[in-house]
Amino acid sequence: MIESIRGRSLLSLDELSKAAMVEVLDTAESFVEVNRRSIKKVPALKGRVVASLFFEESTRTRLSFETAAKRLSADVLSLAVASSSVKKGESLRDTIATIDALGIDAVVMRHRSSGAALQVSRYVPHVRVINGGDGQHQHPTQGLLDAFTVRQVLCERHDTTGLESGAAMFEGLRILIVGDIRHSRVARSDVAAYATLGAEVRLCAPGTLLPEEVATWPVTVVHDFDEALAWADVVGLLRLQSERGSGAFVASLDEFTFTNGLTVERARLMKPEALIMHPGPMNRGVEIDSRVVDSSRAVVERQVSNGVPIRMAVLYLSVAGSGEGQTL
C-alpha cells in the first residue's frame, strides 16, 4: 500500500491507501481556490517539464492535465501522436527514450494497452509517470476527481469543508455503478477510490458487461436495476464503449437502454437528493437520457471542472515532492 504519492508515480488506485487518497483530495481543495483567482497560476513546478503523451484520443483528460501543469508553471511537452514517429512504427520504448532524452520530470500518458503506464515507469524509473488511462485497467485521476466531486457536494449540504470532513462523508455512503463495467477503466478506479474511502459499492450491469474477476472486487453485484436505484445515494453511469467492442456484448443499443439506461422514468425511482455522475463522453439516449443529464441532480459539469484541481494536486505531490533522485 502506498501511504502518500509524494515523489512517486501514480499508476493505479488499487495500490493507494485511504490516507494517500485523502491527501490528494485535501491538496486539491487548495487548488480549487487557486482556480478561482484572477491570476490562476502558482510557481510550484517552475522549471519542471511535464510531457503529455496521449496515444489514445481524449478531450477532457488531456486538456485538464495540460491546464493543470501550466497553472503550476511547468513546461508542457505535448506529443501529437497522430503526426509523430509513432505512425512510422516507432515502439513505445523508443518514443519514451526520445522524450526522456529531452529532459523531463514527469509523463502523463494514455494508452490503449492495459499496463502501459507501469511499463513506461520501468523504462524510465527516474521520471514520475501519471496514468491518464491505460486500456481497461485504470484511470486514477478520474476516480479521484469523482470522489472529490462527491465529497464537495456532500460537504456543501452539511455546511462543512472538505478539509474538516476528511473521508467521513464516505462512511456508509451507497454508491451504484451502472453500465459497461467490463471495458471500463473508470469503473475500476472508481471502485478502488470509493471502497477505500469507506463507501458501500454496488454494480449493476448485464452479465456480459461484467468482468470475470468481479468476484474479487470489494463490491456487491446486483441485478434489479430499479431496486438499486432506489437504494443509491450516488449513481455513476458509464459509457457503452463501442471502440472496445461493447456492441458485441449487448443484443442492441435499444435493448441496453431498456434494461440499464437511466431514463426519465427510472430517474424518478431515485432518492430526491441522490447524485447522478458520468465521466463523459456521454452517449445521450443510450446509457443516459438527455433530460436526465440536464437535471439538477447531475453533476457532470462539476466533474469536469474538478479535473483541473485534482490533476494539479496529483502533479504537485508527485513532481514537486521529488528531489533529484530521491524517493520520499
Partner: protein, 189 residues
Amino acid sequence: MGNEDERQARTRGLAFTAKSQLMTTDDVTRAVRRMAHEIVERNHDVASLSIIGLQTGGTAPASALASILTEVSGQSVSAGVLDVSFYRDDLSRNPLPTSSATDIDHDLTDRTVVLVDDVLFTGRTIRAALNALSDWGRPRAVQLAVLVDRGHRELPIRPDYVGKNLPTSKDEAIVATLEGVWIGTREGS
C-alpha cells in the same frame, strides 16, 4: 539542526519540548496592542489597510490585530489569510509542506498590506509571501508585523512591527502564539 530542518519540523508538526516561557499571555496581548497602535501611527488611512495573516501561525495574530485596529480607529479593517506553500523556493529540496487555504476576498491593488506572521527567522517565508501577493494585485506598500523576530536572516528582509526581539541559536525552536512565547527544542534535533 539547520534552519530548513526547523521549518520542516514545524510544518510536519513534530513535537515541541519547551525549555522556558519567554512571554506570558499578558505580555503577548500588550505587544499586539502596541503593534496595532504603531500601525495606526504609520498609516493614517486605516480603511486602505489589508491585514494578511500567513498560514498557519500568522492567522490568529492577524485577526487579533485587525480587530484591535477596527476598535481603535472605528473603521472596519480588511483581513485575509495567505498560504505560501506553492511559492516556496525549496519545494524540490524538502518534503512538501501541507498546504492550507488562502482567503483574500478583495483586490490588493493600491492598498497597504500588513503581512503578519508568528516568527521571523530566515525570511524565506516572507519572500514567498511577497511573490504570492503580486498575484492578488499591486499593493501601494507592504509592511511586515511579527510576534517574534529571532534573527538568522538569509535574505534582505526586515520587519516593520515586532512584538519582541529574541536572539536565539539556530538549534533552538520558538513557539509564538497569542497565548505566549516559548523556547525549546523539536523532536529529533
